[in-house]
């Protein structure tokens, strides 16, 4: 009797195995995996500042950015369009995680270079990780001769460094947040009371409104601003449009510079008094090296 029950039990198990659908077998055989979260932000810039995104290995991104004059400067100045600050940049992905760049801004005839490294990546699946971290470091040199003739500054005196730890989380396909603690060091400052070292906290978000469009917002709170200027925290609102290899960003901001030290430390316009600059970032990605 014992054997009977045992064999009956075995029969049930075997018949179950026999009637197993192919789809069920595949489902059981499919290994669960860990996937990287893609596209926390569309581009390498949130608006003024950097996002956690880097370009993939072998991609050269050519970036043209503009910030026009203040929109409240009136019709005579065509609401700011008469003036513009432009930055050209070449940004290259050495590896999927490391990007290096060279740029030139017309404002202050400024050269900039940066390196950006994706340290941690948000993941889902078997071994999930809740957020992404990217490290950013830049060096900026103003080359405009705006000094008194007898007071020529050396190259190193004109250098400004920025370091950032960019932390971001894609909450869902339509909503991402970034927190960007920032440290800025000026080799020289114009006034004695001005700090050489500055700390700022950045906050940013992307809200997708369609597959290829999003509304972005960015705010940097400057903890210890220069005392010699009436520094305002930088605010930017904008629209991102992504079309394959291009990204267009339309920006409304109280900052005129597109470099960290500029828009964080040197912004004087008040967003809420309509000292707003219209601007855009356009990027085109070229694949210099193909996979495999």
């Amino acid at each position: 009797m014992k054997y009977f029950f045992f064999s009956f039990f075995a029969l049930i198990i075997f018949s179950k195995a026999l009637s197993q659908e192919l789809e069920t077998i595949l489902e059981n055989e499919s290994k669960s995996t860990t996937d990287l979260i893609l596209g926390t932000f569309n581009g390498t810039r949130l608006l003024n500042g950097h996002s956690i995104e880097t370009r993939k290995e072998g991609i050269l991104e050519f970036m043209i950015s503009h910030r026009f004059g203040r929109v409240n400067s009136g019709f005579d100045n065509l609401f700011g369009l008469d003036e513009s600050n432009i930055r050209f940049g070449f940004e290259y992905g050495l590896t999927d995680d490391l990007t290096v760049a060279l740029g030139r801004s017309s404002l202050g005839k400024t050269f900039d270079t940066y390196a950006k490294y994706r340290l941690l990546k948000q993941k889902t699946g078997d071994n999930p990780f809740p957020f992404s971290v990217t490290l950013f470091a830049s060096g900026v040199a103003k080359t405009i001769k705006d000094y008194a003739p007898d007071n020529k500054t050396s190259f190193s005196e004109r250098l400004v460094y920025t370091g950032q730890v960019l932390v971001a989380k894609k909450i869902n396909p339509n909503l991402s947040f970034q927190f960007s603690p920032t440290y800025i060091h000026y080799n020289t400052v114009s006034e004695q009371n001005d700090p050489n070292d500055m700390v700022a906290l950045g906050f940013g978000t992307r809200i997708k409104i369609s597959k290829r469009m999003s509304i972005n917002g960015e705010y940097y709170y400057n903890v210890n601003p220069f005392e010699s200027i009436n520094n305002k925290n930088s605010i930017a609102l904008g629209l991102d449009i992504e079309t394959g290899g291009h990204i267009f960003q339309l920006v409304f901001t109280n900052a005129v510079s597109m470099l960290e030290k500029g828009f964080i430390a040197e912004t004087t316009g008040s967003f809420f008094k309509a000292d707003i600059h219209f601007g855009f970032n356009i990027s085109r990605a070229f694949q210099l090296k193909k996979n495999k």
Partner: protein, 181 residues
């Protein structure tokens, strides 16, 4: 006791026969090709799961969308995020039946496969030519067919019509080995 032994033997035999009839792979290859005016896009996925049952001719295929590899890194991101929404629909599946499976031999058998393809949350009937053969211990299934993106509600923005074809060519080659559960 003898009866039990016989029963067990019988069960084992059934199990053995059953297992021998199923052929499986987790390294099947599926690629798609989009031939448009401005840009040709090609992607390959070589981690396709497929199982075929030789007694019934039934076949089931499972494709992980994230495993498609592209020539350009940005394409993979755009494919997953903007076109197939792999965060929502991580897998595409096919389940169907290979017709005239009983004629399978070591020569190419040209026949048809009929079934349902599920992609981007949409299901559609598919009937396409397929070549199947037994090669040593392997069952090889291959073929090519076209797939209309609109059938699966995959939208191409107007601005990119010149970059992405409305119809993509899918080719598959699946080398199955005996399935050991």
């Amino acid at each position: 006791m003898r009866k039990l032994g016989l029963l067990m033997l019988l069960l084992l035999a059934i199990k053995e026969i059953n297992a021998q009839d199923k052929y499986f792979t987790r390294e099947g290859s599926i690629s798609f090709y989009s031939d448009a005016i401005v840009e040709d896009i090609k992607a390959v996925n070589s981690q396709v799961l497929s199982i075929v049952d030789l007694t019934t001719g039934k076949i089931a295929i499972q494709i992980k969308m994230r495993s498609f590899e592209f020539e350009k890194g940005l394409m993979k991101e755009h494919f997953n995020e903007n076109y197939v929404a792999s965060y929502k629909y991580p897998k595409a599946t096919f389940s169907g039946k290979i017709l005239h499976i009983e004629s399978l031999s070591s020569n190419n058998l040209k026949t048809e496969v009929v079934g349902k393809i599920k992609l981007h949350g949409k299901e559609k009937e598919l009937r396409t030519a397929v070549v199947i053969k037994r090669d040593a211990n392997k069952i090889i299934v291959k073929g090519v067919f076209n797939l209309k993106l609109a059938d699966f509600d995959i939208k191409i923005p107007k601005i990119l019509f010149k970059n992405i074809a409305e119809q993509v060519a899918i080719s598959f080659e699946l080398h199955h080995k005996p399935y050991i559960p």
